[in-house]
C-alpha cells in the first residue's frame, strides 16, 4: 500500500511539475563566453537546446560541445549567412540564436537532474518530449521507490556541473581511465605528480610496444608485471590526482621519455632489470628502456 501511495504521489508531483514549467518560459541568455568545440557546461546545454528547438541539432542535450554540436552550429551559421562559418559561438551567433529560438531552462534542467531522456524541439509540446529514466518509475513490487530519490540526490550534490556526459580522449573510455588510475594509485601513491604521470605513460608505452599486450587490462594484469597487481593494492579506490595523471599521460605527456620499464631500486630483486639502459629517476623510481 505504501509503495503504491508513494508512486501516486510521484506521479501527481510529476504532472504538476510538467504543467507548471510548461507555462513559464524564460528567455535565458548565455554568459558572454565564446563557446568553442570541446567546451562543457550550462552554456553548451543552452546552445544544444536552442539548436534543437530549430531542428539543427538532433543529438542528446548533454552539455558537451562535441562533433555533432559542431556541425549543427556550422549549419546554423551557414543558414543565417554568418561569416565566417567556424563553429565558434560568439556574440553574433548567440544573438541570432536567441532571436530565432526559445529555451525552456527550468524544463531542461529538471529533465537533466532527474536523468530523464528528453528532447527540446520547438514544434512539439514539452510534456511529450520526455521519458523518465529506465528504472525510476517501476511499478510497486520492486520495493525501492523510497530509496531511489535519495540516490539521485547524492549523485547531484557530487556533481559540479549539469552536464550528463564528459570529454574522453580518443581510444579510451572512462572505465579504462579508471583502471589505469587504479594501477597508478596502487603503484605510486606517494610519488610526485610527475612520477605518477610517468608510470601511466609507461603503461601506455607498453600498449604500443610489440613486446607487450595491446590492451590496458592486458598490460596491467600481466603476471608479475606490477607489484600493485600481485599484492592487490590495485583494488584501492584511486584519488583524483591519479586520474589526472592518467589523463595527462593519455593526452601526450610522457615524463618517462618513452620508458617501458621502471623499478624501485630499494626493493627491486631482479638483476636483469638493473641491466636495462636507464633513462632517468623520478621520485623513488628509475625508468628504463
Amino acid at each position: 500500500m505504501k509503495c503504491k501511495g508513494a508512486f501516486m504521489a510521484c506521479l501527481i508531483l510529476f504532472s504538476f511539475a510538467a504543467a507548471f514549467f510548461d507555462h513559464h518560459e524564460t528567455v535565458h541568455a548565455f554568459s558572454n563566453q565564446v563557446i568553442q568545440r570541446g567546451a562543457t557546461g550550462d552554456d553548451v546545454i543552452e546552445l544544444q537546446a536552442r539548436l534543437q528547438y530549430n531542428g539543427f541539432y538532433n543529438g542528446k542535450i548533454d552539455g558537451v560541445y562535441g562533433w555533432t554540436t559542431y556541425w549543427a552550429v556550422r549549419n546554423f551559421q551557414e543558414k543565417f549567412g554568418m561569416k565566417p562559418v567556424d563553429g565558434l559561438v560568439g556574440a553574433k551567433t548567440k544573438q541570432v540564436l536567441i532571436s530565432k529560438s526559445k529555451y525552456y531552462r527550468e524544463y531542461v534542467m529538471e529533465q537533466i537532474q532527474k536523468g530523464n531522456t528528453f528532447t527540446h524541439y520547438g514544434n512539439v509540446p514539452l510534456e511529450n518530449q520526455t521519458k523518465p529514466r529506465a528504472g525510476t518509475q517501476k511499478p510497486a513490487g520492486t520495493n525501492k521507490p523510497a530509496q531511489k530519490p535519495q540516490n539521485n540526490k547524492g549523485g547531484q550534490s557530487n556533481q559540479k556541473q549539469n552536464t550528463t556526459a564528459a570529454n574522453m580522449p580518443g581510444g579510451f573510455s572512462n572505465n579504462d581511465i579508471n583502471l589505469l588510475a587504479q594501477a597508478v594509485y596502487g603503484e605510486a601513491r606517494g610519488e610526485p605528480f610527475e612520477g605518477q604521470v610517468a608510470i601511466a605513460a609507461v603503461i601506455l608505452n607498453r600498449i604500443k610496444s610489440p613486446l607487450f599486450p595491446n590492451t590496458v587490462a592486458g598490460v596491467i594484469f600481466e603476471p608479475l608485471a606490477f607489484t600493485a597487481v600481485a599484492d592487490g593494492q590495485i583494488y584501492m579506490q584511486p584519488n583524483e590526482r591519479a586520474k589526472e595523471a592518467v589523463l595527462d599521460a593519455i593526452n601526450g605527456w610522457d615524463p618517462s621519455e618513452n620508458a617501458i620499464y621502471y623499478f624501485n631500486p630499494d626493493t627491486a630483486t631482479s638483476k636483469w632489470i638493473w641491466g636495462r639502459p636507464q633513462i632517468k629517476r623520478i621520485g623513488k623510481h628509475i625508468f628504463c628502456e
Binding site: 536523468g115 570529454n167 605528480f193 621519455e257 638483476k271
Partner: protein, 449 residues
C-alpha cells in the same frame, strides 16, 4: 567435573580449529590450483599456436596463387597474435623473454603488411621470400624447443606456480627447470634473429628516439635554469636540476621548481643540446572556471608566441575541457598543409588562464625542413575515393605518418554518416585510404542505478 568440562570444551575447540584450518587449507589449495590451471592452459596453448604457426608459414611458402596466399598470411597474423596473448599470460615478465616476443610480433607485422597488400600488383619479392624462409626455420626451432619444455613439464609434473615464486623472490632462480628451459629458448632465438629480420619491416623499431638530431649548442646547467625561468609563467623558486638520459640518447636537464603562489611543483625537461623545452607539467588545484575554453586556447597561443614558436602557422586541432582544465593540441601548417607529426600539446587552467602543461616532444622529434610535394590528385578526385555514404564537410591537405611509419601527403576530410563524425586521410598521390578514424563523441556519465 569442571576439569572434564574444560577438557571437553578444549577438545571441541581444537577439533573445530583443526577443521577450520583444514577448510582454509583446502580453499587455498583450490585457489592455487586454479591459478596453476590458468598458467598451464596459457602454456599449452602457446606451444600449440607456435606449432600451428610453423605449419602455416610452411604452407605459405608452398603457395603460388595469390588468391590463397593472402588468407594464409592473415591466418599467420591471427595465430601470432594469439600466441602473443598466451605469452603475456605467463609469469615471464621478469625474465628476459623479449626476443621470443619480438620474434612473434615481427612475424605478425610481416604477415599483416604483406597480407593487406594487393599481391596481384605487388607480389612477394625475392627478399621477402628469404625473410619468410628464415622465419619458417626460426619458427621450427622455437617449436621444437617449446615442445621439449612441454614434455619436461608434463613428465616431471612441473608447476608454473613454482616459476612464479622463483621469479618473484629471485632466489634459486637457476634451479627452476622451466625458467632454465625458457632461457635456452630465448638464447636460440636471439642467436639468429638479428640478421634474419631486416629493419625494413620492423616498423615499430624504426621510430626515432632521442634528441641528438636537434640543432644548437650544448647548454650548461645555469643556462637551463635561465631557460626554465623564462619559460615557466611565474616567478618560481627553489629550482633543482638533474641531468639525465645520457645512456639512452635523451640528454635532458630535468628541472623541478616551486610555483610562487600555488605551492605546487612545476616539472620540466630541457634538452641539453640547444636547450629546447621538452615538456612542462604542473599539478595544482584549479578553482572555479572563470575563463572560457576559447579564451584559454588564445592564452595557449600567446604562450607559444612568447616562447618563440611560429604561431601564425599553428592551427588548433583538439580542444577539450576536462573539469576545469582545457587541453589543446596545435598543428603547424606549412603551405596550407597540416603537419600532424609535429603536434604541440598545451594544458591551460580555466580559473586564471595559466598554462599548466606543455609538451613539444613530437615537435622536437619530427621537426625539420621538408619539401612538401604537390599532390597528384585533386581534392575532388580524392573525394571520389570515399565511401558514398559519407557527407564531406571539410577538406584540407595534411601530412601524416602512416602504418608503415612513413610520412605521406594526404587529403584530410572530415565527414559525417548519420550522427557519427569521421576523419579520413586519402593519399594525395595514389588515392589510398591511409587512415579512417571515427572521432570520439562525449561519453555519457554512467550513474549508479
Amino acid at each position: 567435573m569442571i576439569r572434564g568440562i574444560i577438557i571437553a570444551v578444549l577438545g571441541v575447540a581444537i577439533a573445530a580449529t583443526g577443521y577450520w584450518g583444514y577448510k582454509e587449507h583446502q580453499e587455498k589449495d583450490a585457489v592455487l590450483l586454479h591459478a596453476e590451471n590458468n598458467y598451464q592452459r596459457a602454456f599449452h596453448e602457446l606451444t600449440y599456436h607456435v606449432d600451428q604457426l610453423h605449419d602455416k608459414i610452411g604452407t605459405t611458402l608452398a603457395m603460388n596463387s595469390k588468391k590463397s596466399l593472402s588468407p594464409a598470411l592473415i591466418d599467420v597474423w591471427r595465430i601470432t597474435s594469439e600466441a602473443h596473448n598466451n605469452v603475456s599470460q605467463l609469469p615471464l615478465t621478469l625474465m628476459p623473454f623479449n626476443k621470443t616476443e619480438e620474434f612473434l610480433s615481427n612475424i605478425g607485422d610481416f604477415s599483416y603488411k604483406t597480407s593487406v597488400r594487393d599481391l596481384d600488383q605487388k607480389p612477394l619479392d625475392k627478399k621477402e621470400y628469404t625473410t619468410l624462409n628464415s622465419l619458417y626455420k626460426q619458427a621450427e626451432n622455437i617449436q621444437n624447443q617449446l615442445r621439449s619444455v612441454q614434455h619436461l613439464v608434463m613428465s616431471k609434473n612441473l608447476r608454473w606456480m613454482d616459476v612464479e615464486m622463483a621469479l618473484a623472490s629471485d632466489k634459486k632462480q637457476s634451479d627452476n627447470t622451466i625458467v632454465d628451459s625458457f632461457k635456452t629458448v630465448e638464447k636460440n632465438v636471439g642467436a639468429f634473429s638479428e640478421d634474419s629480420i631486416s629493419p625494413t619491416f620492423t616498423g615499430a623499431n624504426t621510430e626515432r628516439k632521442g634528441f641528438t638530431h636537434l640543432k644548437g649548442k650544448q647548454i650548461t646547467e645555469k643556462e637551463a635554469v635561465k631557460i626554465a625561468q623564462r619559460f615557466a609563467p611565474d616567478h618560481n623558486y627553489s629550482i633543482k636540476v638533474v641531468k639525465s638520459g645520457r645512456k639512452t640518447n635523451r640528454d635532458v636537464y630535468s628541472i623541478r621548481m616551486k610555483d610562487a603562489d600555488n605551492k605546487s611543483f612545476i616539472y620540466m625537461d630541457i634538452t641539453q643540446k640547444g636547450g629546447h623545452p621538452v615538456y612542462l607539467i604542473q599539478k595544482r588545484a584549479v578553482k572555479k572556471q572563470k575563463i572560457s575554453l576559447n579564451e584559454a586556447s588564445n592564452r595557449a597561443v600567446a604562450f607559444l608566441k612568447k616562447n618563440g614558436y611560429e604561431t601564425k602557422g599553428l592551427e588548433i586541432d583538439e580542444s577539450a575541457q576536462y573539469n576545469n582544465i582545457g587541453v589543446f593540441s596545435f598543428i603547424p601548417v606549412e603551405k596550407n598543409v597540416r603537419i600532424y607529426p609535429e603536434a604541440i600539446r598545451m594544458k591551460v587552467a580555466l580559473d586564471d588562464g595559466e598554462v599548466v602543461g606543455f609538451s613539444a616532444r613530437d615537435y622536437l622529434a619530427a621537426h625539420r625542413t621538408r619539401t612538401i610535394p604537390a599532390p597528384a590528385l585533386s581534392a575532388d578526385e580524392a573525394k571520389a575515393k570515399l565511401n558514398k555514404n559519407v557527407e564531406v564537410r571539410e577538406t584540407r591537405q595534411a601530412l601524416i605518418t602512416n602504418e608503415l611509419g612513413q610520412e605521406v601527403l594526404c587529403y584530410e576530410m572530415l565527414g559525417t554518416i548519420g550522427k557519427d563524425t569521421y576523419q579520413m586521410f586519402i593519399n594525395a598521390d595514389d588515392g589510398k585510404e591511409e587512415k579512417i578514424e571515427k572521432l570520439k563523441s562525449a561519453e555519457p556519465i554512467y550513474k549508479d542505478l
